[in-house]
Symmetry: C2
Subunit: 213 residues, 2 copies
């Protein structure tokens, strides 16, 4: 047994997620075992890194053979918390919200969108699949009633910080934020920011540094 709970770095968890995807591709192609080298190749990292990452959580492989694909998928799902359903709310029924709502990944991985909110009277009352868009005024009561655990913010930047405070006060423990606004929340809340500006600026920075030579 390796260690019950020392601190795990974010990059390790991101790589676990990549290993899981690689293993699923391997499973689909019929492979029963996968070496750290094979996983590294598919996930875009190195073999020692794969072994180190996995060894943080246990001993999953067989020396001389590699890692058994199907059992390791199960282990990674357990580690990542994917063996249960998560109850998710979407705040902001705009373009990004709509793209997310139709994204099949959510269903497949057990992230269930159980509530959608907006403040536009034209949108409130519409149904997206089985879910009726509720007015943002009903936020607290619906979040409590639906036992929402994760909130996804796809509203404009201006209302985002106040809405984040509200969902946290209503008991939501994790937020995925697409709005370009910084959220200041108590440390027990898990926040993850997706910032398109940053991603593009990373590209323009790299191009600017490499092109002029």
């Amino acid at each position: 047994m390796p260690s019950p709970d020392r601190k795990i770095s974010e990059s390790t968890v991101r790589r676990l997620s990549a290993y899981l995807r690689s293993l699923e591709a391997l499973e689909a192609s019929g492979a029963e075992m996968a070496s750290s080298g094979e996983l590294a190749r598919r996930a875009g990292t190195t073999a020692p890194q794969v072994r180190k990452d996995l060894s943080t959580f246990g001993s999953f492989g067989k020396r001389g053979l590699g890692y058994p694909v199907v059992p390791l998928i199960g282990s990674l799902e357990a580690i990542l918390g994917l063996t249960r359903e998560w109850r998710v709310a979407l705040l902001g029924a705009g373009r990004v919200g709509a793209a997310l709502h139709t994204y099949p990944f959510f269903r497949e991985r057990g992230f269930r969108i159980v509530a959608i909110f907006d403040n536009d009277p034209e949108k409130v009352g519409l149904r997206w699949d089985d879910t009726t868009i509720r007015h943002i005024d009903e936020l607290e009561s619906v979040l409590a009633g639906e036992a929402v655990e994760i909130a996804i913010l796809t509203v404009p930047a201006a209302p985002a910080p106040a809405l984040a405070d509200r969902v946290v006060r209503a008991g939501v423990g994790a937020i995925l934020n697409f709005a370009p606004a910084r959220l200041e929340l108590p440390p027990h809340v898990v926040v993850n920011e997706v910032n398109l500006a940053m991603e593009l600026e990373l590209l323009s920075f790299a191009l600017t540094r490499s092109e002029p030579r």
Copy 2:
């Protein structure tokens, strides 16, 4: 003068992007100077980190006073490569592509979407604002003709790697990839992956580790 070009870490560049956004908020509120502490508070980091990051590129502040807001905005824009226009192509005119196309950030920051591609005959020929959706068969000729520098992949995972190869062969130097597929490209190509699964799994991992106590 600090250093012409040693290796800059990705996290430094991401923070520069955050500082730029913070400075623009400060400018809007009329501030003329900003201390490293103030920038750190807004960008969610620490004051020494801000100073270290900026000192990588030069000496922008005045001791005792802080950093001059407007000049530093200009310097950061120059460092990040935002003082010129970038010619961008969108591959995949689906939901994510549509959300990106309407996102005002692109215009504001000089990322000009000059070409849109799809392989769905229903979509080819439609116009999104000024841009006609082209068939993916025309990829190479249009990319060359429009001198595209950055490609954004919003196609399904299956065709993504092959399309990435094609845009690189057509001279595109940077790719922002939304498809959950690993792209293997020559090292001079800048690739940035946006992976929603990873972002959500990071949340479920953190919730799983914190809740059961």
